[in-house]
C-alpha cells in the first residue's frame, strides 16, 4: 500500500503542475499592482475596466468571437453530415475516407497554414477573414467528426427505421428523430470547434490579414514587452468564456437530465 500512496502523491503533484500556473493567472488578474507579476499588493478590478476601454483588445475579442461562432457553425454542419455517412452507411473505401477526414490533425499545423496560404496566394486570393474561417473550420473538422461519430454509434438505427416505416421521408426523419437525439453531440462538437478557433494562434499568425488581430495574436503582440496586468485580466475573461460556458452547459444538462428521471 505504500506504493499506492506514492502513486497518489505523484498524481497530486502532476495536477498541481497542470493547474498552479493557470490559477496564478486568474489570481493576478485581480492584483492592483501596476506590474503584471508578483507581489500582490491588493484586490482591484481596475484591469478589467482598462480592458473594456482598450479598443484594440475589444476589436480582437469581437473578431475572435465571430470567427469562433462561424467556425463552429461551418465545421459542425459539414462534420455532422460526414459522420452520418460514416456511421449509417456501408460503402467502399470507408477507411480511406476516415483517414482523409482526420488528416488535418495528422499534418503539423504550421505546414497546414503555410500550404494553404501559399496555394491561395498562387490563386491570387488575399489573406482575409474568410481564409481564417475556412482554415479554422478545417482544423476543427476532425474533432467534430470524432465527437459526433462516437455519439452517433450509440443511437439505435431502429428509431430512424420506425419513423421511416410510419411514413416519414428521410429529411423528416433526420430533423425529427436523428437530429434531436444527436443534439448533445452537435452541441459538444460546436463547443469544441469554437474553442479550437478561439484558441488558435499557430495558423492564425500566417492567415490573418495585416491589421486584423484575434485575441491570441493580440496577446502575443502585447507580450513582446512584458506580461502586462491587462493580459492577466484578458486571460481571466478567456478562461471564463472557454471553460465557464461548457462547464455551465454540462452542469445544466446534467441537472435537467436528473430532473426528468
Amino acid at each position: 500500500m505504500r506504493a499506492w500512496k506514492l502513486i497518489r502523491l505523484y498524481t497530486f503533484l502532476v495536477y498541481v503542475f497542470m493547474f498552479a500556473p493557470i490559477a496564478v493567472v486568474l489570481l493576478l488578474a485581480f492584483n492592483s499592482s501596476q506590474f503584471g507579476g508578483f507581489p500582490i499588493e491588493g484586490f482591484s478590478l481596475r484591469w478589467f475596466y482598462r480592458l473594456a476601454e482598450n479598443e484594440a483588445i475589444m476589436r480582437a475579442l469581437k473578431t475572435s468571437l465571430s470567427l469562433g461562432l462561424l467556425t463552429a457553425l461551418a465545421s459542425t454542419s459539414i462534420g455532422v453530415l460526414a459522420s452520418l455517412a460514416l456511421v449509417r452507411y456501408r460503402f467502399r473505401g470507408k477507411d480511406l475516407i476516415t483517414t482523409l477526414l482526420i488528416s488535418p490533425v495528422l499534418v503539423p499545423e504550421t505546414v497546414l497554414a503555410v500550404g494553404l496560404l501559399i496555394f491561395l496566394r498562387w490563386l491570387h486570393v488575399p489573406r482575409s477573414f474568410l481564409l481564417l474561417l475556412l482554415g479554422h473550420s478545417i482544423i476543427a473538422l476532425p474533432f467534430v467528426v470524432l465527437v459526433v461519430q462516437a455519439r452517433l454509434v450509440g443511437i439505435k438505427k431502429e428509431y430512424e427505421e420506425a419513423a421511416r416505416s410510419l411514413g416519414a421521408n428521410p429529411v423528416q426523419t433526420f430533423f425529427s428523430v436523428t437530429l434531436p437525439l444527436l443534439m448533445p453531440a452537435v452541441f459538444a462538437g460546436s463547443l469544441f470547434a469554437f474553442t479550437i478557433s478561439f484558441d488558435n494562434i499557430t495558423a492564425t499568425i500566417f492567415w490573418r490579414p495585416t491589421g486584423m488581430e484575434t485575441v491570441p495574436t493580440q496577446i502575443f503582440g502585447m507580450l513582446r514587452n512584458s506580461v502586462s496586468p491587462e493580459i492577466n485580466a484578458l486571460g481571466f475573461v478567456m478562461i471564463v468564456i472557454t471553460v465557464g460556458v461548457p462547464l455551465m452547459a454540462g452542469g445544466l444538462a446534467r441537472y435537467f437530465a436528473r430532473k426528468k428521471t
Binding site: 493557470i22 493567472v25 453530415l81 452507411y89 482523409l100 505546414v111 473538422l141 502575443f220
Partner: protein, 290 residues
C-alpha cells in the same frame, strides 16, 4: 436493403461531399502544391518566379543552419515525449485504478486544460519562473536570495511549456487504454503468485502500450511542429524547425523557401505517423474521444 445487383448507393457520397471537398481543396491540394512551389525561384521580398530548379533544396542540404534546426527539433521532441510519458503514466494509472468516489472530477480536470487558452497557459510560466514570478518571490521571502534568479528564456522553460500544454494528451491516451483492461487480470496474476510489481510489469504495462504509444506520437508530432512556444518562453537560441518556417514566410517573405521547409517538416513528421500507423493503426488515436 440493397441487393448485390442494385446500383451503388449514392446517398453517403452526398453526405460526405461538403467535408471531402473542403479537405481536398484546403488540405490535400495545398499539401501537394508546396512540393511544386519548392522548385520556384525566389527573386526578391515576396517576389518569385515559376521555375523548376533546385536552389531551395540545395540550400537546405548545404546550409548548417537548417541541419542544426532539424537536430534541435528532433532532440527537443524526444526529450518532451519521454518526460511526458514519465510524468503522465502514473496519474493515468491512478485515475484508471482508483476507487475514489469522485473519479469523474479527476477526469474532468484532465479535460479542462484543453479548454484553457494555449497562449495563456504558455505565458503563465512567466508568472512562475520570471523575475517577478512566484518562485523568485518565494525565495526572496524565505531570505534565500537577494536578487531575482534568472530562470526564464532558456531551453528548460521551453520544455516545461511544452510539457504543460501536451501532458493532458498523454494522460488521456494512457488512461483510455488502462481503463479498457479487464479488472480481473491483475488479481489473477497475483493469485498465481506474482508480486504486485510483477503483475503490473507482466500484465498491465504491456496491455497499456497502445495508449502510451498513441500519447507519445501525439506529443512528439505536436512538439516537432511548434514554433510559438519557443518564441514566448525561449531565448534567441531556442528555435525549432517551425521557427525557420515562420521566419521564411512571415519575416523574409521568401515563399519558395517557406514551401521547401514546410514540405521537409511534413515529410519528417509524416514518416513518424506512417511508421506508427503501420504498427498500431490510426484508430487508436480516435479512442480517446469515446
Amino acid at each position: 436493403m440493397s441487393g448485390p445487383d442494385r446500383a451503388p448507393d449514392l446517398r453517403p457520397w452526398f453526405l460526405l461531399a461538403p467535408a471531402l471537398l473542403s479537405i481536398i481543396v484546403l488540405v490535400v491540394i495545398p499539401m501537394s502544391f508546396i512540393l511544386v512551389y519548392s522548385f520556384y525561384e525566389n527573386i526578391d521580398l515576396a517576389v518569385d518566379r515559376a521555375a523548376f530548379q533546385f536552389s531551395n533544396w540545395q540550400e537546405l542540404f548545404r546550409d548548417k543552419y537548417y541541419h542544426v534546426a532539424i537536430w534541435k527539433t528532433l532532440r527537443l521532441s524526444v526529450i518532451v515525449t519521454i518526460l511526458a510519458a514519465v510524468l503522465g503514466y502514473v496519474p493515468a494509472y491512478f485515475i484508471a485504478m482508483t476507487r475514489f468516489r469522485h473519479r469523474w472530477l479527476l477526469l474532468l480536470l484532465l479535460i479542462l486544460p484543453f479548454w484553457v487558452s494555449f497562449i495563456i497557459r504558455t505565458l503563465s510560466w512567466i508568472h512562475i519562473l520570471g523575475n517577478q514570478g512566484a518562485l523568485n518571490g518565494l525565495f526572496e521571502w524565505l531570505g534565500l536570495t537577494d536578487a531575482p534568479l534568472s530562470m526564464m528564456y532558456n531551453e528548460t522553460t521551453v520544455i516545461i511549456g511544452f510539457l504543460h500544454v501536451f501532458l493532458p494528451y498523454m494522460i488521456l491516451n494512457v488512461y483510455v487504454s488502462l481503463d479498457g483492461i479487464d479488472d480481473n487480470l491483475e488479481p489473477a496474476a497475483r493469485t498465481l503468485g506474482a508480486t504486485p510489481w510483477q503483475a503490473f510489469r507482466e500484465v498491465t504495462l504491456p496491455l497499456s502500450l497502445p495508449g502510451l504509444a498513441a500519447g507519445c506520437l501525439l506529443v512528439f508530432v505536436l512538439t516537432g511542429g511548434s514554433y510559438v512556444t519557443p518564441l514566448i518562453l525561449g531565448g534567441p537560441n531556442d528555435y525549432l524547425f517551425g521557427n525557420l518556417i515562420h521566419d521564411a514566410v512571415v519575416s523574409e517573405l521568401n515563399w519558395p523557401m517557406g514551401a521547401t521547409l514546410s514540405f521537409t517538416l511534413l515529410v519528417m513528421l509524416g514518416l513518424i505517423v506512417v511508421i506508427y500507423s503501420r504498427f498500431m493503426g490510426i484508430n487508436q488515436l480516435a479512442k480517446a474521444f469515446r
